[in-house]
């Protein structure tokens, strides 16, 4: 139950006053609450846990993490 799963937003709508998205996870569509992410749009990738989108997955942030990892590896044992 602890897992957060990435999925792609297909459609945005409102359900009984709640902002909801249809999110596709490896071919399976589920309803996800997106109240937490006001700027999410159709086509966005989101990380979902317990039916709530926790964060938008940002390709730039992923690239930045990779850059930092590579830098840490390059600097090696120096302090």
């Amino acid at each position: 139950m602890c897992l957060a799963v990435p999925g792609r937003v297909c459609e945005l709508y409102e359900e009984a006053g709640l902002r909801v998205a249809a999110v596709e996870f490896a071919g399976v569509r589920r309803r996800v609450c997106i109240e937490t992410l006001p700027n999410v749009a159709s086509g966005s990738w989101v990380l979902v846990h317990a039916g709530v989108a926790l964060q938008e997955l940002d390709p730039r942030a992923a690239e930045e993490s990779l850059r930092l990892l590579a830098e840490a590896a390059r600097r090696g044992g120096g302090s």
């Binding site: 139950m1 957060a4 317990a50």
Partner: protein
């Protein structure tokens, strides 16, 4: 695939392992909190890669495993009294003092697996007049989802939605470990 292959680059991982082993001037013991982390560590053999300098201890971090017996007993009693009990799938096999929720379902009780507390609210809306109880477990990351779903049920004026809450917080457990004289 983009951002999967990059994060599984053996050369980069090897260089990072070398860096860690060179910089660790003494043996380190590190405990990870989350079962998802334990899974990744063992799946990718990180414990073996680092064992020369770093011992990885697998922590107790699973809200399913630390749910008290009494909570399961309460859930079972609610099913026996006719409530529709919803929870995450992993909760169904956790034993109470008189069996688990799967057993209660086999005896005719209505026990439903949901992926989200919002699904339990939807079920309550479909079944007016029948109490729908969400057995809520989880850490800080999960509790807000349950709170949001509860507010949604309130806004929809659903009077048959209930939460049996058994959330746990991580920092007090870490404080207790850190404060122990032997640590």
């Amino acid at each position: 695939m983009r951002f999967i292959d990059e994060y599984r680059d053996p050369q980069l991982a090897g260089a990072l392992v070398d860096t860690i082993l060179r910089r660790a001037r003494r043996s380190w013991t590190i405990m990870e909190v989350c079962g998802g982390q334990t899974h990744s560590i063992l799946e990718h053999g990180l414990d073996a890669l680092l064992e020369e300098r770093v011992t990885l201890l697998h922590g107790p971090g699973c809200p399913v495993c630390v749910t008290p017996l009494e909570t399961l007993d309460r859930a079972l009693a609610l099913v026996e009294r006719g409530a529709v009990l919803c929870s995450f799938g992993d909760m169904l096999r956790v034993p109470g003092s008189r069996g688990d929720l799967l057993g209660a379902r086999a005896r005719g009780g209505e026990v439903r697996v949901v992926y989200s507390p919002f699904d339990a609210v939807r079920l309550a809306a479909e079944r007016p007049g029948r109490p729908v109880v969400f057995l809520a477990v989880g850490f800080e990351t999960t509790a807000p989802a349950v709170a949001a779903a509860t507010r949604w049920a309130q806004a929809r004026r659903l009077e048959n939605f209930f939460v049996l809450a058994s959330h746990v917080r991580v920092p007090p457990a870490l404080d207790a470990i850190a404060a122990a004289p032997e640590s």
